[in-house]
Amino acid sequence: MVPFLQDNVIYRGVYCWLGGNEGNAQWCGGDGLLPGGYEWVAYFVAGLTIMLILVNGALLGAAVFVWAERRLLARFQARRGPNRWGPWGILQPIADLVKLLIKEDIIPTAADRIAFTLVPIIMLMSLLLSLAVLPFARNTYLANLNIGVLYIVAVSSMTTIAIFMAGWASANKFAMFGAMRGVTMLISYEIPLILSLVGVVLIAGSMSLVSVVEAQYLPFILVQPLGALVFMLGISAELNRTPFDILEAESEIVAGYHTEYSGIKFALIQAAEMAGVLAASGFLATLFLGGWSGPFLSTQLGALWFLMKLSFFVFLFIWIRATFPRLRIDQIMAFAWKFLLPLAMINFLATAVQVYFFGFYHGDVPGEITRNEQWVMAAINVPLAVASIVAFGHFAREGIRVPAVRLESIVPIPRVAEVD
């Protein structure tokens, strides 16, 4: 009889189906399949059910994401994309997986075999673990940890270690260059990323993601525009995707940290990266767009609202990838340390002052921030966000090399003809 077990829809369903008896009749109602005294088996199976959903959701989601990204990138670049395997090429990721599975798995002689093999395992592990606290519908999660936000940040930063292990174990100088660039970039973007979430924690008064969703009378993207922007940019750097892909820059350092990887190990690294985009979109949707709550029927359609918000951010990430060229390392570093870090600092200090005044307004007993107060905070924070972006956008340009002659003045950029 555990409170969170009763709240959680999937837990309660599976638990009662197996372990319902007289002892828990008031919330199970009816006998389960197992005899009395075996509640722990029911509990264990209930936990494994959600784990199964999470693992399959992440891996199949990654497959669907690969297909969606290739199709959409093709559309952005006025081509057709994969369209041979299955309707609209939807079986393409499965064909890719089978191909990678039956390819030879080469481990270089000079490589450190144990570390080399551990890299894909750690990458996928850190990704799957970060999903554990994500509420993907009303009362549906693996665990409602009271340190949810910190847990996500802690677990997902294991990727940094995996990338360095990949670079070191490969004994290849391109892999090492990629790993060094990657570690520098990832640790630089981690600080604005973590600080941008402090504002959310301040307003919700808790680090649990379930409480964060419940505290959002207004989507936090309005209450915390600066925090949302910094988190979005920071996490798109953590994903190592195109504007920030200096660690696998294929035109400079072969393939960066995974140069030596082939076969199933490469497939696992790619799967972890692709599912990482889904996880990041899930966190963005949960923390800043209200998670499973929607304008209507959020109890019944929670998973659908969550999926819609997730798909919105996924599309945004693909759009960013299709639009921006790769940044140079000096631009990336200046962007993190001179632009995102001060914005994150301004955001959380301003939020702290606002939370103090609204808490004071409630009298001795500090209550939660109500809907009207969140509107007031949005009215203060949106102009603040615009002003600080303009100001620091100006400061951050200092020290960045700009080409003396603009490219357009030398090379006339041709107009792209309309394609189908």
Partner: protein
């Protein structure tokens, strides 16, 4: 309440094992496929050499690195330690009130001086 707390972390512990088993089983499957002869496994010295665009390899992992990487690592350590103090403060800020607010302002101001110093010394730039 405490039991609830430990059960949740117990689930996370079980999930850690599951998350380890999933990729490991995929690697095992690939190994089995090579045993069954479905997947080729024909190593030779040239194939297992360090990849370098088809050339003879010049230098391994002991390549020289820019000293800049080290400066960023130092800055990261300073700010990351600060974050450890910020999170517990953020959870309790609404209840602790003005005292906590002023303390954190002072803390961030000191940190901010360090950040401005690093900027003025041009350590935030990649030269």
């Amino acid at each position: 309440m405490l039991e609830d707390y430990f059960r949740q972390y117990g689930l996370i512990a079980i999930f850690t094992i599951v998350a380890f088993i999933v990729p490991t089983s995929m690697l095992m499957m690939s190994f089995l496929l090579s045993r069954l002869g479905i997947r080729p496994q024909k190593p030779n010295p040239v194939k297992q050499d360090i990849y370098e665009c088809g050339m003879e390899t010049i230098g391994g992992r002991w390549a020289r690195f820019n000293f800049r990487y080290y400066m960023y690592a130092l800055l990261f350590v300073i700010f990351d330690v600060a974050v450890v103090f910020v999170y517990p403060w953020a959870v309790r800020m609404g209840k602790l009130g003005l005292f906590a607010l002023i303390e954190m302002m002072a803390f961030i101001t000191i940190l901010g001086f360090g950040w401005v110093y690093a900027w003025r010394k041009r350590d935030l730039e990649w030269r």
